[in-house]
């Protein structure tokens, strides 16, 4: 795997608030702060894993980066342009280069379209080819994701979950993008199929030099596929580091607890291990705790943590943590 130091996507203090309306007059009564000040760089050719529990804002972060939501504040730099301020036509042109793969392969493909239409649509939309050329390109893409080119006339319902996910991948590759946001691309699939799709992601990255933002809650798969990993909690990044560093030497108490909850497929492991079991649930992002977001569940929190919000700081080169106690 080749990763460079060249930054492909730079996310700066990204915020995405969803307003809450209530009452007879539907007045705005507050915000769900789904993403609340997130900054990180994605290097060219790497896979950055983004993990966290449901409701932590990881999917929203992915969607906001490629402007499926208009960010409340912050910047997303890609090829010298700030995607957050681009007008819609300019953004549409950028979309050739930034693509998304969705979680649910059943919901993300139009059941009334054939594979030719589904995969050919981006090509048609950007006017990149016409007629016979589109058919050739679709056949190439199907081969690329290890499906038979003979499938072009078929409909999504004729395929299994793993195959549908491949169709979604083929569609996202249609315009030769550089950057792909993979939003839980394997969580709807069976274990043996997950491995097939993960291997495909790795092959495509090697062949095409793709950069992935890999959003997932499966910590062991993220460990497998990522070069670096960011851990999110309630709309902020708690810790970001190289894969081996974060899994081998987690510093944030949340990361420690999260990693110790991974079910390890080895019965001997459980004879010796002591789990850190977190109490309670993730608080509501509409009313997050003051100061450090994690303090309500943190085993080492004190008064200072309630007053001030810890910033993400670099403790060793490349290892960022948002905690006062580290």
């Amino acid at each position: 795997m080749t990763t460079s130091n060249e930054v492909l996507v730079k996310v700066e203090d990204l915020k995405m608030y969803f307003p809450i309306y209530s009452g007879v007059f539907q007045r705005k009564v507050g915000d769900v702060k789904a993403v609340d000040g997130v900054s990180f760089d994605v290097y060219k050719g790497e896979t950055l894993g983004l993990v966290g529990e449901s409701g932590c804002g990881k999917t929203t972060t992915g969607r906001t980066i490629i402007q499926l939501y208009k960010p409340t504040a912050g910047h997303v730099w890609f090829e010298g342009k700030d995607l957050a301020t681009l007008k819609s036509e300019a953004m549409r042109q950028v979309r050739q280069n930034v693509q998304m793969i969705f979680q649910d392969p059943y919901a993300s493909l139009n059941p009334r379209m054939t594979l030719r239409d589904i995969i050919g649509e981006p090509i048609l939309a950007f006017g990149a080819a016409t007629g016979k050329e589109i058919d050739d390109r679709v056949a190439d893409l199907l081969t690329l994701v290890k499906l038979s080119p003979d499938f072009v006339g078929r409909y999504p319902h004729e395929f299994s979950g793993g195959q549908r996910q491949r169709i979604g991948i083929a569609r996202s590759l249609a315009m030769n993008p550089q950057f792909i946001v993979c939003d839980e691309p394997i969580s709807a699939l069976d274990v043996s199929i997950q491995a097939q799709v993960i291997n495909l992601f790795e092959d495509l990255q090697q062949q095409l030099g793709l950069t992935y933002l890999f959003v997932a809650h499966d910590l062991s798969m993220v460990r497998h596929i990522s070069n670096r990993v960011a851990v999110m909690y309630l709309g902020i990044i708690a810790e970001l580091a190289d894969r081996d560093e974060i899994y081998g030497n987690p510093l944030h108490p949340y990361t420690k607890a999260l990693l110790s909850s991974i079910p390890i497929p080895d019965p001997k492991y459980y004879e010796t291990r002591k789990r850190i079991v977190l109490e309670g649930d993730v608080p509501s992002p509409a009313n997050p705790p003051s100061g450090c977001r994690f303090r309500t569940r943190c085993p080492i929190a004190d008064a200072h943590c309630a007053e001030e919000r810890p910033e993400l700081r670099e403790v060793t080169p490349g290892h960022y943590v948002a905690c006062f106690k580290v």
Partner: protein, 330 residues
Amino acid sequence: MANELLNVQNLETVFNTPGGIIHAVNGVNFCLNEGETLGVVGESGCGKSVSMLSCLRLVAMPPGKIINGVANFKGKDLLSMPDEELRHVRGAQIAMIFQDPMTSLNPVMTIGRQMEEPLLLHMGMNKQQARKRSIELLEQVGIPQAGDRLKDYPHQYSGGMRQRVMIAMALSCNPQILIADEPTTALDVTIQAQIVELVIKLREQLGMAIIWITHDLGVVASIAQRVMVMYGGYIIEEAPIKKLYSNPTHPYTVGLLGSLPSTQRGKRHRLYSIEGMPPVLYRKPQSCPFAPRCRWVQPICREQLPGLDNIDSDHTVRCWVDIKTGKVHA
């Protein structure tokens, strides 16, 4: 030898669908001892849930139909017992928790009423006793301010708390067997860890036997003592937990374990992937159901169904081939 609680023989369940008959469970034999935790592992559609639901006759009939089998629970056959008698077993002696705690709780009844129902029905308690016991149970599964929270509706609980309520309800009549059907699949990993710890704690306190159905080989390693792996409606391998992980013998088990990412530091290896997809069971497999995806496949695998053979006193495998030599077993 521990006391046998449940003994299932030759269980076969089919579903009549518009596309044809689906043979979901094709002759499953297993037993469960007192106080034991049995893990049932497999991918979706392998028959793991249906076989356990069939034991309690909880498969919807029609379209489902149990066409063969015996399920002896303390000497009585659950599959042929009158409905009235079975009703006293279900919930009271064999309890069940499901994957999705939201759809298995009634959204228009308070948690309290739902908790009290089995107590009034099976335990012959009056309202006050049932209320008091419900509070005790909720405290036991770690719900704070249990007395007040009885008045809440399911939507006011989080996913993890709803699953705790389900567990409390399942345990309310002191069952001897708890069947847990993917109880942590819908939950986050930290909440999953909470629930697994809770079940292990309750198992120690109450000494019930557990059947834990899951597709997650990690979760099952943390809780089960013995594991059955299912594929295509058959049990294809069964062994004590440590043997299964240290010496997986069926090609499918080997593949499943190999397709998990490594937890070791350092260079990543390529994931072992089982090519192809699980079979759709419109026909009862006459040969090995895994043969089309198997890398050790031999001609005999496509012709005849292998038997479930002992390779050790407590380790059985349904495979023609010895994967160490790549040859058919003598």
